[in-house]
C-alpha cells in the first residue's frame, strides 16, 4: 500500500463534522440531486454568523476538533456569505478544517484568489458523475468540460481539489476511467457516495445498484485505492469495511447521531443531509438541546435498536450501514441497509 493511504481521513473519537447548507438555490438541476425544492435563499449573514459561532462554541465545549463543509444548493450563489463564514472559521481555534462543496460553475479568477487566503480551507469539492457523456446526462450539457476547466484553474492556484461521484447503475462503468483522468489532472482526492433516491430523484430507483453489483464496484475501487497514489480514493463510507475489515483506512461507521449534524438553509437541523428528518431549528433552540435530548439521535446511537441483519452483524462497531439509505428505501432508519451484500 502506498504511503498516501496512511493518512486517516476522519477520527471518530475526536472530530465533529457539520455539513452546512447555506442556501437551497442552485443554478443546476442534476437528475440525481436529493433536493426537492430550490427556493430557499437562506438566512441573512448576521444570522449565519451567529449560528456559526454557536457551532464553534459547541465544538469547544465538547473538546472536539471541528470539521465543516459549506455547501448548498450552490454555495457560490451566496459568495459573500461563504467568505464571511470562512473569515469566522479562520479566527476560531476549534475549527480544524473547512471544505467547500460546490458545482464549481460560478468560481472565477477573483474567487480563486480569495480562496487561496484561507489556511483552514482543506479542499474544494466539485462533482462529476462519470466521463463526459455520462456526466452531462446527469448534470447537464457542457458541465463536464466546464468542470475540467475549473479543476485546472483551482489546481493551478495550488488549491486542493476533491471530486465527488454519486454512484449507481447509470455510471458505475465510469468510476475507474474517471479516477485515472483525475489523476492525470492532479486532483488530490476522489470520494464516492452511493446514490440514494430521495427528494426530486425519488423516481430513479433503477439507478440503485443491487447489493452484489455494489460489492463488485467497491472491490474495484479498493483495488484502485491500493495501487494508485493519485487521486487518493476516499473510501470512508459504510459497507466498505466488508471488503477488508482489517484495513482501517477504509469503511466508516454511520456518523448520524454519532459525530455529525447537518444544518439547512433556514437553520433546521438534520442528523444527515440524506436523512431528512428535522431535529429542531437553531433559531429556536440550542444545538445542545438537539444533540443531548432528541430521541431520534438516541435511537441512532444505540446499536441494539438496529433491525434485520444489521442488528446481528459483527461489523456493528465499524459500520451500522447507511441509516439514510435504509430510510429512503424502507421508511425506517433503523432497518438493515438494503444495499448490504453480507449474508
Amino acid at each position: 500500500m502506498n504511503d498516501g493511504h496512511q493518512l486517516k481521513e476522519l477520527n471518530y473519537e475526536s472530530e465533529f463534522y457539520f455539513q452546512w447548507h447555506i442556501t437551497d438555490k442552485c443554478n443546476l438541476r442534476c437528475k440525481h440531486c436529493y433536493h426537492d425544492e430550490y427556493q430557499q435563499h437562506g438566512l441573512e449573514i448576521p444570522q449565519l454568523l451567529d449560528i456559526g459561532s454557536t457551532l464553534c462554541d459547541a465544538i469547544q465545549q465538547w473538546g472536539k476538533i471541528g470539521s465543516f463543509s459549506i455547501t448548498g444548493g450552490e454555495p457560490f450563489l451566496r459568495e459573500d456569505a461563504v467568505f464571511e463564514i470562512l473569515n469566522l472559521f479562520e479566527k476560531r481555534d476549534e475549527v480544524h478544517q473547512v471544505d467547500i462543496l460546490t458545482n464549481g460553475t460560478l468560481i472565477n479568477d477573483n474567487t480563486i484568489v480569495q480562496l487561496t487566503k484561507y489556511k483552514k480551507l482543506r479542499r474544494i469539492q466539485l462533482s462529476l458523475e462519470g466521463l463526459k457523456e455520462t456526466n452531462d446526462q446527469v448534470r447537464g450539457e457542457g458541465h463536464f468540460d466546464l468542470t475540467i476547466d475549473k479543476i485546472k484553474q483551482l489546481i493551478d492556484k495550488k488549491l486542493t481539489v476533491c471530486i465527488m461521484m454519486t454512484i449507481g447503475t447509470h455510471n458505475q462503468q465510469d468510476i475507474i476511467p474517471l479516477a485515472e483522468l483525475l489523476g492525470e489532472l492532479g486532483v488530490e482526492a476522489f470520494v464516492l457516495d452511493r446514490f440514494i433516491p430521495e427528494g426530486q430523484s425519488n423516481e430513479l430507483q433503477k439507478w440503485v445498484l443491487p447489493p452484489n453489483e455494489l460489492k463488485r464496484v467497491y472491490e474495484e475501487c479498493y483495488n484502485y485505492f491500493n495501487n494508485s497514489l493519485k487521486p487518493r480514493m476516499l473510501l470512508y463510507r459504510t459497507l466498505f469495511c466488508l471488503i477488508n475489515s482489517q484495513d482501517e483506512h477504509i469503511g466508516a461507521m454511520c456518523s448520524a447521531g454519532n459525530n455529525a449534524l447537518t444544518i439547512m438553509p433556514n437553520g433546521d437541523v438534520y442528523p444527515c443531509r440524506r436523512l431528512p428528518l428535522k431535529l429542531g431549528n437553531l433559531l429556536k433552540t440550542t444545538v445542545y438541546d438537539i444533540w443531548y435530548t432528541h430521541p431520534l439521535l438516541w435511537e441512532l446511537r444505540n446499536p441494539n435498536n438496529l433491525k434485520g441483519k444489521c442488528k446481528e452483524c459483527e461489523f456493528i462497531p465499524i459500520c451500522r450501514g447507511c441509516r439514510a439509505f435504509a430510510y429512503a428505501q424502507t421508511g425506517d432508519y433503523l432497518e438493515s441497509d438494503p444495499q448490504c451484500w453480507k449474508e
Partner: protein, 96 residues
Amino acid sequence: MLEGINMHLLKLSESVRLRHEKASDNYYLFCIKSGKHARLNAMSYEIATLLEKKIDKDSIIASISAHYDTDRETCSKDIEGFLKFLQENEMICAVD
C-alpha cells in the same frame, strides 16, 4: 455558597436534562444552555432525579441514606460534593 444549599429548597435549573441509557447503563446530566455535561454514577443520578422537584438537602440525605443503607454522615459528604459540583456549574438553583 454551601450555606445557601443548606438553607434552601433546591431544584435543578430549567436548562438541565437527565438521561439514563438503559442499554449501556450510563447516566448523563446535560445543560442545554451552556452545553456542559457529565456522566453520573447511579447515586448522583438518583440525587439529580430528586432535584427535578424542589427538595432540601436534609431530605436528599434521608432518601439516599435509606436507599443505600448508609449512615447519614457518609452520605452527607457525597451529596454535598455533588451539590457543590451542580452549583459551580449553575445547574441548581434555590427556589424558596
